[in-house]
Point group: C2
Chain length 356, copies 2
């Protein structure tokens, strides 16, 4: 793939032969890195950092300076779209993301519009362009968004939720209004990801953090259908290359067949499923990304290597695996353990890629 | 079954023919009931209510006075064992259960002993006896405990947790110490549940609220193995009747075969699995309990009935289903919706129980 010094990640997403298994980490630019905490202090709050392309670019590149990662992921948040819709995203330490103007009625939904990525989300596109320039083809850059359902949960709950009472009340008592919201969000996510692709993102990922709190029917109806719509409407090719799309539903292990049928290139897995089982179920159709428990990174170097080995061995030889954690890296993980993890994936995976 | 006016629940657990599907609700004695909130005010804090047998008995009976429930479940908490071990259980509104003396080192584990149900947990046994007397054979009484793994998560984290960093750190860096703790807890849970059975509990249930945050291997190793041990060591028969045992692992839908192999009589299901699929996988071996999303109870009477109908239809005709929610009822559910739910299960299920 012309212009890329390391195309392992894109090749793995397209199920092509590679020398070893590529690896990156969800939230790889983040609080476990002292240089990130330093940058955060300079930037002000989390959204200032996201909204200043120079700083978002710097954060994106930090983990790549330390580790042999096979992909960069834009430093941003899954909730930029509702923020651009006027809901006012802010972060409270110990609580998480919150909205100052959450959706409190069906009427609120009718007032929302699709944000223009050229204006309201310009800062994201600018950061993408800047990171691409800075990367100089070192590794590919991943763009992303939250899934429509996941965005809707935060927009209706107003922040993180334990039981999702408000959004599920809406779902069970006024499904039409929720479908109207999800349809709008699917359109917004599509336009937003296509703008990231146009700005230089070489792969995209949709984070469905909360799809796993639904029944199988409601997951299909209120989450997966809208992600499928997005997959279908995304820019298929850019700069002469396929732009692969990954769908990640946390706690979605029971629905892999349905997710694979969306037409996505890759499914993100959390650690509650054996990757051998996932491969047996959908591995002919899609690449699998995952799936080490982030808490393994608290353990000794030897234990980390054992777990990497176990997952590589479980997936087995052949194409179609991107190594990752099953969820974002935690803020108190020792950075030196990440080094052990990344090296272990590269070193221990070569024997699974003997093609002749 | 002699002495019981309504034995639907016990018959369903033992996969015997019945006239309609029995139903009860996790947390059926709780905050959604105005009479419970009144009782709580009189009692003082939550643990005072649990620890005063007369009041715990009153709370247990409250939902039965309102609804045609097919079982009573002792009003208590899943964390009574660690409290009796000296960890000091208390509840903070908006936070949940916490321990004033959590486990902070492997050395702390070696100091713990198995509580004597005749003394430290006497209040639970007394409440069981009192409820049995008061019920006068109206419906059977369920006793319960948290699972060893779930107890351990709270004991090591000190309270609710988002990522289970502390207990998983222990698991990955010092598995021997965690196994020592879990072995002790399995022994304590067994003795505790057997004491509840001796006091009059006619069925028992083990709540594994947090088993679903583990990998398949760690679930087997650190949660299910200890629950299997408990199932194996429980009093098999009391008062001339089988005492059936239900295991409920939240987010355990991927591991039903392994859970069924524990020897339990019944598996509790959350709503993330279609009960038809669960039945196809393990329904010849065990009864299934569940599995309506508690949030459906926010909806209209018509929508509630539709969902009940859908679940009954999904399970289909025949023995082996206890209707329940997939998790505890939420505090802001309108009590009149519960009436709709309970009646719907009884009315709509009769056609699935035509045996001839």
């Amino acid at each position: 793939m012309t212009g890329l010094k390391n195309d392992r990640f894109l090749r793995a997403l397209l199920r092509q032969p590679i020398d070893c298994t590529p690896v990156w980490m969800m939230r790889q630019a983040g609080r476990y890195l002292p240089e990130y905490r330093e940058l955060r202090k300079r930037a002000g709050d989390f959204m200032d950092l996201c909204k200043t392309p120079e700083l978002a670019c710097e954060a994106t590149l930090q983990p790549l300076a330390r580790y042999e990662l096979d992909a960069a992921i834009l430093f941003s948040d899954i909730l930029t779209i509702p923020d651009a819709m006027g809901l006012g995203l802010y972060f409270t330490p110990g609580v998480g993301p919150q909205f100052s103007n959450p959706i409190t009625s069906a009427a609120d939904i009718t007032k929302l519009g699709v944000p223009d990525p050229e204006t309201e989300l310009r800062y994201v596109c600018d950061a993408v362009t800047m990171v691409r320039d800075a990367l100089q083809g070192h590794v590919p850059l991943i763009g992303f968004s939250g899934s429509p359902w996941t965005l809707a949960t935060y927009m209706v709950e107003g922040g993180p939720s334990k039981n999702f009472s408000k959004v599920k009340s809406l779902m069970y008592s006024d499904p039409q209004s929720l479908h109207a919201l999800l349809g709008l969000l699917a359109e917004a996510v599509t336009i937003y990801l296509n703008a990231q692709i146009a700005s230089g993102a070489q792969a995209v990922m949709v984070f469905d953090t909360w799809g796993g709190v639904l029944t199988p029917y409601d997951y299909q109806d209120f989450s997966l259908n809208y992600m499928s719509q997005i997959v279908n409407d995304l820019t298929w090719e850019h700069e002469g290359r396929r732009v692969p799309v990954t769908l990640f539903t946390k706690n979605g292990g029971q629905w892999l067949e349905a997710i694979a049928d969306s037409g996505c290139d890759c499914i993100g897995l959390d650690w509650t499923i054996d990757i051998a089982e996932a491969r047996a179920r959908v591995g002919d159709q899609v690449t699998l990304q995952g799936n080490m428990d982030p808490c393994v990174l608290y353990a000794s170097p030897q234990r980390i290597r054992e777990e990497v080995e176990a997952i590589l061995d479980s997936f087995g030889p052949g194409v179609g695996h991107v190594f990752n954690l099953g969820h974002g890296i935690l803020p108190d993980i020792p950075p030196e353990n990440v080094e052990v993890f990344i090296s272990a994936v590269h070193e221990l995976s070569t024997i699974y890629h003997q093609y002749d």
